[in-house]
Symmetry: C2
Subunit: 196 residues, 2 copies
């Protein structure tokens, strides 16, 4: 598995990270809204074990999906529509760590701060800066929200591949679905401002 | 089942409805992003049959969920926090029709126009107007996005109650999940403006 500290642009543990505008109280209300609790945390820890060793395969599926849809690949491309290989690769390495973080990190203020950073990296404020690339300026909110579906649905077979019984697989799947929904909710904040 | 034309404020077929700012081309790209296709349409038609006669029970679950969370019930309440019974009832009747529409309507320009209207009814621009109530001015985007989880997860047992086999229930569930994700995506448009 990739070591966090050697992944370019992965700043989860950077002490200089700005705090999130979202408070732990806001987060607790969001958790209640998606019914996220201790059982989900436990299920995600199990998911981390199941996904360990399968992360490159998960990323192959997701990158295959993006790569086969020009309207999505555009966001990893130059304004002229030329895919930027180095950009795709560097983001992929951070994406791998995101899967692990989703399953293993406590959802605390540091996590909130990096959630905010990841959100901004999809917007005009910070997209392209981390990797110093000349790509299109931002990712529209619509595709972030819509991605809840593929990012959730495609994980199921991988969660089922660890030999757990149906009930355990279902628990991991539900926890993943809740977490992805919650994270996209957090990432919608810079897009909506005060209406968030 | 409730007859559309007698439900106060249900304006799906109102010829005066303003067109959506979202084009059919935008919608096609969204459908591709959530992998929504003809099989999903067919599965939703079956879901309509299964849910027919169970809609009040679905609404009992959803309203029970909202009613048991003060931070959610607040949006059906006066600014002082007093729930408005008449508001809850009138929206509930329109919600019942939304379930049917989600499963049976073609997702065409008329549907897009009413999607836009429903979106606006969650925002400061139109909330409270349809029912002439004195409630809080808008629903924050965060809860719209977060609701993808409960509105999706809670439907599954109802879809399973019609005696269909596992594969058919799964197809109905996936189609529902895609549709809800797509509709919330559409509803996020007035919150994000040009960044949508
Ligand atoms: C469920 C929704 C999504 C999730 C969970 C997700 C996840 C991620 C993660 C983990 C990163 C790396 C963050 C970091 O720098 O550490 C990232 C960056 C990126 N994502 Fe997403 N993403 C989502 C939606 C999208 C969509 C719809 C697109 C458009 C095709 C997209 C394109 C990108 C791009 C271009 C970057 C690099 C941004 C930069 O310049 O720093 N993402 N995403
Ligand atoms: C998946 C997300 C959601 C869906 C599918 C949904 C569905 C609906 C539907 C179908 C209506 C009636 C539309 C019409 O007038 O015909 C409605 C209105 C309403 N919803 Fe939502 N809703 C969602 C999120 C929320 C959330 C998070 C809240 C806050 C608790 C909320 C509170 C309301 C209120 C107060 C109204 C009445 C608005 C008005 O004054 O016209 N909804 N919703």
């Amino acid at each position: 598995m990739t070591t966090p500290t050697t992944t370019p642009g992965y700043d989860h543990d950077d002490p200089a990270l700005a705090p999130s505008p979202i408070t732990p109280v806001d987060l607790d209300l969001l958790k209640a809204t998606v019914l996220f609790g201790p059982d989900d945390e436990a299920a995600l820890r199990t998911a981390a074990e199941v996904l360990d060793g399968r992360i490159e395969q998960v990323l192959d599926v997701w990158y295959g999906f993006v790569g086969s849809h020009p309207h999505l690949l555009a966001y990893f491309s130059t304004p002229d529509g030329e895919p930027i290989g180095d950009y795709l690769d560097r983001v992929r390495a951070r994406f791998a760590l995101w899967i692990v973080d989703t399953c293993t990190r406590p959802y605390d203020e540091r996590w909130l701060a990096y959630q905010n950073e990841m959100a901004l990296r999809h917007t005009a404020e910070k997209k392209n800066k981390t990797d110093g690339v000349d790509s299109v300026p931002h990712i529209p909110l619509r595709y972030l929200v819509a991605f809840i579906y593929p990012i959730t649905a495609t994980i199921r077979p991988f969660l089922a591949a660890g030999g757990h019984d149906d009930e355990q697989v279902e628990a991991m799947f539900q926890a993943w679905f809740k977490s992805v929904t919650m994270q996209v909710t957090l990432w919608s904040q810079p897009y909506a401002g005060t209406a968030w």
